[in-house]
């Protein structure tokens, strides 16, 4: 027993040590120096990155969740198979290509990047919305209908509250993915912290690499953490226990 605990703790401290060693090494070599010496540029890039993610994610949620609701209504159910397959195929197209192809449609710039990120974020949110609504026990819908609930009441009181766990997980996936993809916005002239990473790659400058990559990484991990916290707040207690088992 104690041995197992030892191994567990050992591993944990090994990882801590690795992270600390990395930061110590990076700081010793002044790889973070650009964040301070070019702090105004850094703040601009950081803000661009944040706005890219925020705007494209919000737009994607506004489109994907209603679309997922719509496709699971009885009227459109027949199209679900087709749409789901298209979405699955869409997800295999590399994000870089989506960004690149937008250039020929919208030209170069911030808006192009937002639009590409928006398109790419729709997929996971849509997929999880549909999955969440599809896995609801049909008996619940039957019971709700039988007791005289209107379709809108069934949707808002039964279906969405029980699917919210899955929908939020989709949003989290999309946002975290989006933070990474936004680093590629440089390619279409969309700015963001990717600018420093690419500069670092092209100039072989470790300072630019680390000053760009570490903030992006922290942003992604933080977003993941915060959105998980949000899930705990928003998912109804009973629905949570069911989705966890």
């Amino acid at each position: 027993m104690n041995n197992k605990k030892l191994i567990g703790n050992g591993f944990r401290f090994f990882i801590y040590g690795l992270v600390i060693a990395f930061f110590a090494w990076a700081i010793y070599n002044q790889y973070f120096s650009y964040i301070f010496s070019q702090s105004s540029t850094f703040l601009v890039l950081l803000r661009q990155h944040f706005v890219l993610v925020l705007v494209s994610s919000v737009l994607a949620i506004l489109i994907a969740v209603p679309a997922g609701v719509l496709i699971t209504r009885p009227k459109f159910r027949k199209a679900e198979w087709l749409i789901t397959n298209i979405v699955n195929f869409g997800q295999t197209i590399p994000s870089l290509a989506v960004l690149a192809l937008m250039i020929s449609v919208l030209g170069i710039g911030f808006n192009t990047a937002v639009f590409a990120l928006f398109i790419y974020s729709i997929l996971p949110i849509f997929r999880n919305t549909v999955a969440g609504l599809d896995t609801i026990d049909p008996n619940l819908i039957d019971a709700a209908k039988g007791m005289g609930m209107k379709p809108s009441q069934i949707l808002f009181r039964i279906e969405l509250p029980n699917a919210v766990y899955s929908i939020l997980a989709g949003i989290r996936t999309a946002v975290v993915l989006n933070i990474g993809t936004a680093a590629l916005a440089y390619v279409v002239g969309g700015g963001g912290l990717g600018v420093w990473i690419f500069t670092g790659i092209q100039l072989f400058d470790n300072g630019f690499l680390i000053s760009g990559a570490i903030p992006v990484t922290i942003m992604a991990i933080l977003a993941d953490y915060l959105l998980r916290k949000l899930e705990n707040v928003l998912v109804p207690k009973g629905a949570r226990a069911v989705s966890n088992t």
Partner: protein, 217 residues
């Protein structure tokens, strides 16, 4: 259409070559990831304490954006003069594959019916016999699903690796971007999508082939 035909006539051999490069990079990474992930996943079922930490670390790793991970790895691998090229890309892909493989192996073995495990112990199987004959075969579909997730994920991530000189289909896309050539971009991304779909289908086939009929996912 005619332009496409001409484009393919010139570029088909190169596309094929890059596709093979891409597939090779991903397959190598997956094989290594399996060699680490599956035994680790199995071991974790016997050590809850370690399981929590490992799964957490793997899950955080997966949230690191690929370009950022490459950005972090270049300085580290520069220490041994391998800052760009195959090695950092390969290591990154191995790392990204760990979560789906470890997690699925771990949960699959955990979820093997305890009565089945009891029966195996009851008829006198040793731990390794039990693992090989009872637990792993029954956990196979879920483990395979984890491998499929990892493969599809890696095929996408390997595209970005072109920026750090690891070759593969990403080269077509990055060249297409710098030359403003949509043919290159489209053919590159279609090849990536196709590769992902074929790999996924192939693995599904293997999974069906090698799981006992009675074991259903």
């Amino acid at each position: 259409m005619e332009q496409w035909a001409r484009f393919l006539e010139i570029n088909a051999p190169r596309i094929l070559e890059l596709t093979l490069d891409h597939a090779l990079l991903v397959s190598l990474a997956i094989v290594v990831a399996l060699l680490i992930g599956v035994p680790l996943g199995i071991y974790l079922t016997t050590n809850e304490y370690l399981a929590g930490t490992v799964l957490q670390v793997a899950s955080v790793t997966l949230t690191i954006p690929s370009l950022a991970l490459f950005g972090i790895m270049i300085p580290i691998f520069s220490l041994i003069n391998k800052g760009i090229g195959f090695l950092p890309a390969f290591v990154a892909l191995v790392l990204y594959s760990q979560l789906p493989i470890i997690r699925n192996t771990y949960t699959a073995i955990k979820n093997v019916n305890p009565e089945m495990r009891d029966a195996a112990i009851g008829m006198g199987m040793k731990t390794h016999q039990r693992l090989l004959r009872v637990e792993i075969p029954n956990a196979m579909p879920v483990i395979m699903a984890g491998i499929r997730t990892a493969v599809v994920l890696n095929i996408g991530i390997a595209v970005i690796a072109a920026y750090i000189g690891a070759g593969g289909l990403g080269v077509l896309i990055t060249q297409g971007i710098s030359r403003g050539d949509n043919y290159l971009i489209i053919s590159g991304s279609l090849a990536v999508a196709l590769l992902a779909i074929i790999a996924d289908g192939l693995l599904l086939l293997i999974q069906k082939r090698f799981t006992t009929k009675a074991v259903v996912e």
